[in-house]
C-alpha cells in the first residue's frame, strides 16, 4: 500500500469518526428537545393544578356564626329582627330571608328561641380566610375577632356548596343545580349519540358497499369531528329549538345539541374498534353458518365493545366540558334550581364555572376554582374509566 492511499484511508476513518460523533450529538440534542418539551408541559400542568387547588381549596370551608335566634311573631314581617342587631351584618341574608317562609310552614316554631350555627356573610368568610379585599368594615373586623376568641365563629365544611344551586350571594352559591343539569344533559347525550353512532358505524363498516356515496359519507364524518363546536350550537338552535319547538335552555335541547357534536367521535371510534376485530373471526362465524346479523351481534360487536366504550366515554367527557354550543341554546343563564324535568331550564357545570368567573364580587374567585376542581375530578374519573376499559380490551389474536 502506498503512503498516499494510507493517508486517504486514515482521512476517511477520521471523517467517519466525525460523522459518528455528530450523529451522537444530534441524538443527544433530540433527546433533550423531547425532555424540555415534556418538562415544559409538566411545568404548565403543575402550575395550573397548584393555582387552581390553592385558590379552590378554601371554598370547601365556610364561615359560620353561633347566634341566638328568636323566632318571634314580628320576625314574620321583618326577618332582621330574628337576631341581635349587633350581629345582623355578619350573617348571610340568604339564611335570614328564608325565616318568614320557614315560620309559615312550621307555625309551632313561633315564640321559640334557639342558639344555632348560621351561615356568615361572605365578607366575614373572606376576612377569616385572610383574603385581601374582604371589604369587612373595621368595627366588624373587631367584632369577628372577639367572637373568634369566644369560639362563636368557625370555619366548617361547606356542605352548602354541594347542596345549593347558584346564588348571587357568594356564601350561598353551590353547584347542585349545575351538577344535576350536567348529569341530565350527559345522560340524554348518551341516550341519543351512542345507539345512533354505533349503529351508523356498524352499517358503514360491516354492511355498506364501498362506493362513491359511502366514501362521501366517510369524508364528511371525519370532517364533522373537527369543526368548531359552536357550529353545533347554531345547528341545535335552528333544528331543535326553532323547528322542533324544544324549549330554550332545557336539558333536552342541550343533550340533543351535544349528541350531534359527539356523534362523529363515536362513529370514528366504533369503526376503528370494529376494524380491529380480525377477519378470521367473521369468517369462522360465516363458516359455521351464521347470518350477517348473527356474526355482528354475537361475535364482532362483543369483541369490539371495550373499544366502542372507550371512544364513547371520551366523546362524552368532551361533551361534558363543552360550553360554546350550550351558550347558543340558552343554557348559560342564571338557573339556581335543579331541573325537575328534561324540558325545564337547566345549566351545566362548565357554564356555572364561566358565570362565576365573570362575577364582580371577589369571593366568587374561590368558588370558580372549586367548581373547576369538581369538574376536573369528574373528567379525570371518566378518563380513568376509559383507560381501564382500554387495558381490559388489549387482546392478542
Amino acid at each position: 500500500m502506498s503512503d498516499a492511499s494510507k493517508s486517504n484511508a486514515l482521512r476517511a476513518d477520521l471523517r467517519a469518526d466525525k460523522r459518528k460523533r455528530r450523529r451522537a450529538r444530534a441524538d443527544m440534542r433530540f433527546k433533550w428537545y423531547g425532555l424540555t418539551a415534556l418538562g415544559l408541559a409538566m411545568l404548565f400542568l403543575v402550575f395550573f393544578f397548584v393555582d387552581i387547588i390553592s385558590k379552590g381549596l378554601p371554598a370547601f370551608q365556610q364561615a359560620e356564626i353561633l347566634v341566638q335566634v328568636s323566632y318571634s311573631e314580628s320576625v314574620k314581617s321583618n326577618y332582621n329582627r330574628a337576631v341581635d342587631k349587633r350581629y345582623r351584618k355578619l350573617i348571610s341574608r340568604s339564611w335570614l330571608r328564608t325565616i318568614p317562609m320557614q315560620l309559615e310552614e312550621h307555625p309551632d316554631m313561633i315564640g321559640t328561641t334557639a342558639e344555632q350555627w348560621v351561615l356568615a356573610d361572605y365578607r366575614v368568610d373572606q376576612f377569616l380566610k385572610g383574603h385581601e379585599g374582604h371589604k369587612l368594615k373595621k368595627k366588624y373586623q373587631k367584632l369577628v375577632r372577639q367572637l373568634q376568641e369566644e369560639g362563636k365563629v368557625r370555619l366548617a365544611f361547606n356542605s352548602g356548596f354541594f347542596s345549593n344551586g347558584d346564588s348571587k350571594l357568594p356564601e350561598n352559591a353551590g353547584i347542585l343545580a349545575s351538577a344535576v343539569g350536567s348529569v341530565l344533559v350527559l345522560l340524554l347525550t348518551m341516550l341519543f349519540a351512542v345507539p345512533v353512532g354505533v349503529m351508523t358505524a356498524i352499517y358503514l363498516e360491516e354492511f355498506a358497499p364501498d362506493n362513491r356515496f359511502t366514501q362521501l359519507i366517510e369524508v364528511n364524518i371525519n370532517n364533522l369531528a373537527a369543526i368548531p363546536s359552536i357550529l353545533y350550537g347554531l345547528l341545535g338552535l335552528a333544528i331543535f329549538i326553532n323547528f322542533m319547538g324544544v324549549p330554550r335552555s332545557s336539558a333536552l335541547a342541550g343533550g340533543l345539541t351535544l349528541a350531534l357534536m359527539t356523534l362523529p367521535i363515536i362513529i370514528i371510534a366504533t369503526r376503528a374498534a370494529l376494524r380491529a376485530v380480525p377477519e378470521s373471526i367473521r369468517e369462522a362465524a360465516y363458516g359455521l353458518g351464521a347470518s350477517s346479523l348473527q356474526t355482528v351481534w354475537h361475535h364482532v360487536l362483543p369483541l369490539a365493545m371495550p373499544g366502542i366504550l372507550t371512544g364513547s366515554i371520551i366523546g362524552l367527557a368532551q361533551a361534558m366540558g363543552e360550553t360554546a354550543p350550550l351558550l347558543i341554546v340558552g343554557m348559560m343563564a342564571y338557573i339556581p334550581e335543579a331541573p325537575h324535568s328534561i324540558l325545564a331550564a337547566t345549566t351545566v357545570l362548565p357554564a356555572q364555572v364561566y358565570t362565576w368567573s365573570g362575577e364582580s364580587i371577589r369571593a366568587f374567585e374561590e368558588r370558580t376554582a372549586a367548581g373547576i376542581m369538581v369538574l376536573l375530578a369528574v373528567l379525570l374519573s371518566l378518563n380513568a374509566l376509559a383507560i381501564r376499559l382500554r387495558n381490559r380490551s388489549e387482546q392478542t389474536w
Partner: protein, 350 residues
C-alpha cells in the same frame, strides 16, 4: 315508522312548550344581568314563586327574542343597558307584542381606571376620543389621517408623557357600545372634519356621520367580556387604562383607581347629578300580554323596583348599581302600577 315516531316526539315537545309556563323567563343585557338575577333569586327564596330564569344575551339579542312574538316560548322580560330603539319597537308591534311597559332601574357608570400605583390622570372626552379613534383629524384639521398618537402628550402637551394603552370590552359588548356612543359619537357628530365627508357622499361615507371606529393597531386591546381579566391586566401594567363597569371599580378599589373625566371621578353622586359623563340608564321591559299567564311577573317587577333593591342602600347598590334619584324611583314605580304602555311617540322626543 321511524319518521312517524320522530314526528310524534316533535309534536309532543311542541305541545309541551306551548303550555303555560310556571317560571318567568328573562333575557337581555349582561350589564343588567347581575341585578336582575339578584332580584330573581330573592323572589325565589322569599316567595312561593319559582326562581325566574335569567339569561344574559346582550341588549340587542334580548330585544330580538323579546319582540319575536307573544307565544309562551318567548321571554316575559328583557333587560337593556340602552333604550329600546324605534326600529325594535316597530318590530315588536309587527309581531304582536303591542303592550310594553318600560322601567328604568338605575344607572351604570363606565369607569376609566388605572393601577393604584399610577399617577392620577384627568382626561376630557375629546382627548379620549383622539386616543382611541381609528382615524383622527390631521394637524391642519382639514382631513383625516390614521391615528398617529402613541403618547398622551402628543394629544395635549399638558398631559404626561405616558404610553396610550387601553384594555376594553370587545365589539359584542354593551359596554363597548356605550363607550363608543359617549366618547366617539358624542364628539365626532359635531366635528365637521368627519361630517363633511359624510355630506360629500352620504352613501359611501356613511360611517363618518357619527364616526365610531376604534383603532386596531394594538393600542386599544379588546379584552373579552370578562372584566375581571381587565382588572388583573391593569394591576400589572401601570401605563394602561381599562374600560369597564363601575361595579368592578368598586369591588377592586384596592388595586385600581379611577381616572377622572373632565375633572370628575365616578361615584354614585356624580353619576346621579350628571356631572360624571360616562354613565347610562339601565332598563327593563315588561311584556304585558304575559301578565296573569306566567305567575309572579308583577311580584318580580315590584320587587325589582322596591327600595329594598334599587333604593339608596338597596341590595343592588351593594353590588354596583347606581340608584336613581328618589323622585325618579317613585315615577317608575307609578309607571309600573299603571303599566303605562310604551308608544311610538316616546321615541320621537329627545
Amino acid at each position: 315508522m321511524k319518521k312517524m315516531i320522530f314526528a310524534a316526539a316533535a309534536m309532543l315537545i311542541a305541545a309541551n312548550a306551548a303550555q303555560a309556563r310556571d317560571q318567568i323567563h328573562i333575557v337581555g343585557s349582561s350589564t343588567v344581568y347581575p341585578f336582575s338575577s339578584y332580584v330573581a333569586e330573592e323572589l325565589g327564596a322569599t316567595t312561593k314563586f319559582k326562581t325566574p330564569v335569567v339569561e344574559s344575551t346582550g341588549s340587542g339579542g334580548g330585544m330580538k327574542l323579546f319582540c319575536a312574538g307573544t307565544g309562551m316560548d318567548t321571554p316575559d322580560f328583557t333587560n337593556a343597558s340602552r333604550r329600546m330603539k324605534a326600529k325594535e319597537f316597530k318590530k315588536c308591534q309587527k309581531n304582536g307584542v303591542r303592550e310594553i311597559t318600560e322601567i328604568v332601574v338605575g344607572y351604570d357608570g363606565i369607569a376609566l381606571a388605572q393601577s393604584r400605583h399610577a399617577k392620577p390622570l384627568n382626561l376630557t372626552r375629546k382627548e379620549i376620543m383622539l386616543a382611541v379613534a381609528a382615524e383622527v383629524p390631521n394637524k391642519a384639521g382639514d382631513g383625516l389621517i390614521k391615528n398617529p398618537y402613541h403618547y398622551w402628550d402628543e394629544i395635549n402637551p399638558k398631559l404626561p408623557h405616558r404610553k396610550i394603552t387601553f384594555y376594553g370590552p370587545p365589539t359584542s359588548s354593551g359596554t363597548r357600545d356605550a363607550f363608543e356612543d359617549m366618547i366617539l359619537k358624542h364628539n365626532t357628530k359635531h366635528m365637521s372634519v368627519y361630517t363633511n365627508l359624510y355630506k360629500a357622499d352620504p352613501k359611501k361615507n356613511k360611517k363618518y356621520k357619527k364616526y365610531h371606529e376604534i383603532r386596531q393597531d394594538g393600542v386599544y386591546v379588546p379584552s373579552g367580556e370578562n372584566d375581571n381579566l381587565i382588572v388583573k391586566k391593569l394591576a400589572k401594567d401601570s401605563q394602561a387604562l381599562g374600560i369597564f363597569g363601575y361595579s368592578y371599580l368598586e369591588e377592586n378599589s384596592d388595586s385600581i383607581a379611577a381616572a377622572t373625566v373632565e375633572g370628575i371621578a365616578p361615584s354614585p353622586e356624580t353619576v346621579q347629578d350628571g356631572s360624571y359623563k360616562l354613565s347610562r340608564s339601565l332598563y327593563f321591559y315588561i311584556k304585558k300580554s304575559h301578565i296573569g299567564k306566567v305567575p309572579g311577573m308583577m311580584e318580580y317587577a315590584r320587587l325589582f323596583t322596591s327600595e329594598q333593591m334599587i333604593g339608596d342602600d338597596g341590595a343592588c347598590a351593594e353590588i354596583g348599581l347606581i340608584p336613581l334619584p328618589k323622585s325618579m324611583r317613585d315615577h317608575y314605580r307609578a309607571q309600573l302600577a299603571h303599566l303605562t304602555n310604551l308608544t311610538a311617540d316616546d321615541f320621537k322626543k329627545k
